[in-house]
Symmetry: none
Subunit: 232 residues, 4 copies
DNA sequence: CATGAATGAGGATTCATTCAT
DNA sequence: AATGAATGAATCCTCATTCAT
């Protein structure tokens, strides 16, 4: 990122080089502490820079942090989604879950930052970030919607709740991993989550004996809000 | 919680009364703003107390905040778990999920505080809070383990992953609610989550014959918000 | 102002005492440098205080400065205006000019501060200060208006221009004095200004023999805005 | 003032051209904002120049600003004073007042800068600026002195006080205009000031027989703006 | 016990000025 | 000559914590 320089890229970088160095350092710090715990001084120090130098490039701490988050999302979204047509709906879902898991595991506190610091911002919904975040979570949401549309998944539980379950699992998974400082198997976790969701939501035709009548009844479903079915 | 006194509410409380007043005020504030946005001055003012007085009771702001979180958990855990024996495993799970949802929804920023500010603390695992938090999440974990043990649920997906899925959903659910400033139906959400997990994890023996009756029982369902599937 | 304490009033003053000490120190500094040249640090140092202490009492530097200016005006306006009824219009004017001169000469840069720093403020006209300033300058304006009303002064030059001439002279007088670090005689200056204005504006009846020819030359005059009469 | 070059205005100017471009840009900025609000960065930008380049030409921001003020005075003083011999003393005074008014009104913040930022400087009196400023104000002072010498004006009020009255009026006039963002008529204001001063100071021989009719005509006066009396 | 004045270590931000390129 | 990255001292402001009263 810093480029064409000896090791310690401390002196006289070009504007772009410096900006991306600052951003990558900040991103690193964001991954370690939260927004409020980051100080411009420490950012500067880690860049071997004076504090003022930061502000030559970013008008505001807040601005810098937002740019970092945006860049991060930009990066995420640049990953190819793969050949959707050629995979089964379940496989597509699993793959997306695996992708999100791997992303979030790589920098879990960054997710936290966006979730906790930025999202509560009153302006959040009008920020570019909001769009980017939506694009990101939509990958999974789309996979779910497609599966529902194709009749692979039932529609009796709201797609948004499913998406929340998936992202919730992913985040808890990664935070637990963070705390334990141990590791976990992304593929296994993705498979686990997918399994629960898929099995929990698949329509009758996939599950031999059950389906007939259940499936029949399924047809005229309308959803309101988010969730569940009831039993007496 | 706050002292029950005649007019001059703030005069000469006993040490314990004072402490719990401070704590309850702080808890209230934690629920309104985040940790970093709370100032000891404002705590004092809301207690009609001088700034210094706080420190007579709590050596440190941080200490106070932790005690508040602990007391909160203490309170949570004191709620009766109900008659486990008399409920079905599924019902027990649903009930616990509903309970956790209701808790978190009641004071979502408190949850956030524990999750975001305390958990990342390097000492977190040696804090009493950690134990308390475990006890809290264990209620759901235990319900799952019991269901696995009784053969109601499969064991092919880790109980911890299931627990993470559940808490993940709960948190996403409440955060979404926080952002949108709308409301959601706790019962419906609990049912939704339970449904996915249960259907996704139940063992074969439960499924074959049930459905008929599952379907049958379905009839007189009412949904509110956020949820579910409908049947004719 | 600081009150009832040993000499070095450095420690543990009451809120009011401290506030007025800070204000008087600031006023002193305002008299020495301009608004922008005052730093909160120096204010603190001159009070033998930490910087933070200042902000316990005044939310903002700007706020402090405004309060200082207000207090100053308040003080000015509290001086008794004397028995207007019993003095001649000319004497009343002279007295007011003398009063304003003495005030401004005492703390000329304070005037400058109000004139230069506060007045350009877009909100100035809605500030209390604006009212106070008006009250102050109105004393002279009223004296002029009264003299016009009573027929002692002509009305062919706007009262506002006269007021501007008077205050302009006063300020220049005091600034000159500031620069020269010499002194000047307030009474003499007041008399001088009064003389020019009065002689320049008095009506015919006071100056017996002159008028005829003056009037004759007067004829072909055109006026625009703000001022004067013309002569060929 | 800014270099007259083809397209790329900023390329390779001679030292002198560059300096005067910087100065004229700075002067423009001085007229828009105050001294303290000008940044070297913005000066550079407006010159399409790098920040460092400024310092190649002027050792210090302060130095640059002073040079700008000096150049401004230089320019003022270069304006021809007109044919003194051929005008009456009163006309000469009026003309000088009008000239000063027009100058100050054209760039009032420049005046402010000199008045407020430079004049309080302890070294002011030893600066070239001081001399220039004197020369400028002396134009009016000389007109007064001449009028006194020729017997047109009395000598019972100090010429310096008169000068102060005149400049004071001028400045108040322009500041008021600045605040109100309205406009005012330079000629009318000049005439008004001249009238008061002249009438207030003229010697007896000029005024003998005038009064009667002047007084008579006074009655039916209407004012428009700030000023003047009207005659049929 | 309680008060609240005072502290002091930061924190973000600004900007004239320097200097390697 | 010119550039523009970097500096660092200064500025206003915040707040947990201390301690004289």
């Amino acid at each position: 990122m810093a480029a064409r320089r000896p090791k310690r890229t401390t002196y006289r970088l070009s504007r772009d080089e410096r900006m991306s160095e600052i951003m990558s350092v900040t991103r690193q710090m964001l991954a370690e502490m939260g927004y409020k715990n980051i100080t411009t001084l420490e950012i500067a120090q880690r860049c071997h820079l004076s504090e003022g130098a930061i502000f030559r490039h970013f008008p505001t701490k807040r601005d810098l942090l937002i740019k970092v988050a945006e860049a991060w999302f930009e990066e995420l979204l640049s990953v190819d989604e793969g050949d959707e047509a050629e995979t089964s709906p379940r496989e597509r879902l699993r793959r997306e879950i695996g992708y999100a898991l791997s992303i979030i595991r790589k920098e879990p506190t960054l997710t936290r930052y966006v979730l906790m610091e930025l999202r509560p911002d009153p302006e959040y919904r009008s920020m570019h970030l909001y769009q980017l975040n939506r694009q990101f979570t939509n990958r999974i949401r789309n996979a779910l919607t497609a599966a529902v549309a194709s009749g692979d998944l039932r529609s009796d539980v709201s797609v948004d709740l499913l998406r929340d379950m998936i992202f919730g699992s992913i985040e808890h998974q990664t935070w637990a991993f963070l705390r334990d400082e141990g590791d976990f198997d992304v593929e296994a976790a993705a498979e686990g989550i997918t399994t629960v969701i898929w099995r929990g939501m698949q329509t009758a035709r996939d599950t031999p004996h059950r389906e007939t009548r259940f499936a029949e009844r399924e047809s005229p479903t309308r959803h309101r809000c988010h969730a569940g079915h009831r039993e007496p």
